[in-house]
Symmetry: C2
Subunit: 292 residues, 2 copies
């Protein structure tokens, strides 16, 4: 049992003190979900090897009663294995697969484009001693392009991201949390993407009225406002320009997906379509023969 | 207990006798997963109300010892509730949310574009008595456009779909099934999208070498080749033209996502980037001062 119910977490922070790494964000939520207090070891991108006594170059790292555990995913599994009597992060093995799926999807559709929109700010917001490290590693990821050059013109790219998030909105129309009635690690991994974004988003990525806002606000508010920090930016306030795509859909999901067949009364609309279609074809035929 | 271990299923078939509805496909797999034999009531899009004695206008419908159950999702829940001692379709409540997510994503990224590529064939392959119904209902979904007009030019659109399926490929690199070590309802709902496609794909939607092929082949082969039917088309053989996007990626997933931090040896590459970057900056500075 963790001493005094407290687990030590090595953080990855910006100059403001707010957490930036989505992996650390996931771990903060995981620790709170399991009911632990967090003792944070502050720090930025560099010096992790020194801070962890040579044990890791990356965070998150936790220390639980002298046991060091590295890697956000390994930490989540450790917490469920070591503390199975506390609320579970994963409900099943197959849930682990689906959480990975949602995460890959979010990285492709949100982090990847937003990375290009905020990468200069990301560097500028980091601790002064981290600027060189962030610049060199991120420019290597970007094939050698300068961060300034990559971020330029983001006003053209930001409006393209919200429409791509529609599958997440659809699911949050039907369910309070990705975990169902309660948040679990599925929510934390997804929220972490938006927490990362809020830590660097000097221009808001989502519109004021985005339907994701409800889930995001509830998620940021969890555990006494764990996702709120004065160094973070608002996600909401993206201004669309003429010609930008609709940022979200208010239509019901595609035919057949969003509702259940509970008998003929639930599917009446389709037969109406056929009746109207037949009437229209018949009317056209009558009009055609009348004009011949 | 189902009489003789057999449950009756109302099918939705094309003229070839192969199942078309993804919802019926999901139900066929669900019944086999629970270990039942299927007694199929054949039929197409029209006449469902008559076949089911006025109980439903839509399929799937099952009859289990005189109990009628409508709707693929309700049927799956019914099977787990009524037969909890047999292999479960859902491992947890939160898995239901994630299956919905994957499905919305697949409908947006696969069914929606493929619908526009195969909708005329879809009608032409249906039973003769269904042509009018399919035409009227699908043209209504399409805002009144003719099926022929919608399908036209599909050679331009087909190559755009495979790249969008990358999150599914990423997850199937790491896991044998969406259900983990064994297939479950997560696989069946996703396979159903491709089974639907194979039932109408008169031109193949995926390249011969698509990494999804392994999972798709294993999925179609399950339960004695449940997904194989002589009326179905191959999914593989899409020919790309110059300028088409790469259909899939062989790169590892985005930095930080695909591997675990197990200590400094596992993250060495990043520090190498920094060392190389510093050496490069120093060399440029030396070259700069030498040329001054």
């Amino acid at each position: 049992m963790a001493t005094d119910n407290t687990i030590t977490l090595f953080d990855l922070q910006l100059a403001s003190g707010c957490t930036i790494s989505p992996f650390v964000w996931s771990t903060k939520y995981a620790l709170k979900h399991k009911g632990f207090e967090i003792e944070t070891v502050p720090g930025g991108f560099t010096g992790i090897l020194e801070r962890t006594g040579g044990r890791s170059e990356r965070v998150p790292v936790i220390v639980d009663e002298g046991r060091w555990v590295l890697d956000s995913w390994t930490i989540a599994e450790y917490l469920d294995e070591r503390y199975p009597d506390r609320p579970m992060l994963f409900e099943s093995e197959s849930m682990k697969v689906s959480v990975r799926f949602t995460e890959y999807w979010l990285w492709q559709n949100a982090i990847r484009p937003w990375f290009s929109c905020y990468i200069r700010d990301y560097r500028d917001l980091s601790l002064p001693q981290d600027h060189e490290y962030v610049t060199l590693t991120r420019e290597a990821i970007l094939g050698g392009r300068k961060l300034e050059e990559v971020q330029a013109g983001r006003e053209e790219r930001l409006p393209l991201v919200p429409p791509a998030l529609e599958p997440l909105r659809q699911i949050l129309r039907e369910h309070e949390w990705l975990g169902g009635h309660r948040p679990n690690y599925a929510d934390y991994r997804a929220l972490a993407v938006f927490l990362w974004t809020a830590s660097v988003a000097t221009a808001p990525p989502l519109t004021e009225d985005d339907p994701l806002r409800d889930w995001l606000d509830r998620g940021f508010d969890l555990y006494g406002g764990l996702g709120r920090h004065p160094g973070m930016h608002t996600l909401f306030g993206l201004k669309l320009r003429p010609g930008d795509p609709a940022p979200f859909s208010l239509d019901p999901p595609m035919s057949g997906l969003g509702r259940r067949n509970t008998g003929p009364a639930s599917t009446r609309a389709d037969l109406d379509v056929v009746s109207r279609g037949r009437a229209q074809v018949a009317a056209q035929a009558r009009a055609g023969s009348a004009s011949q």
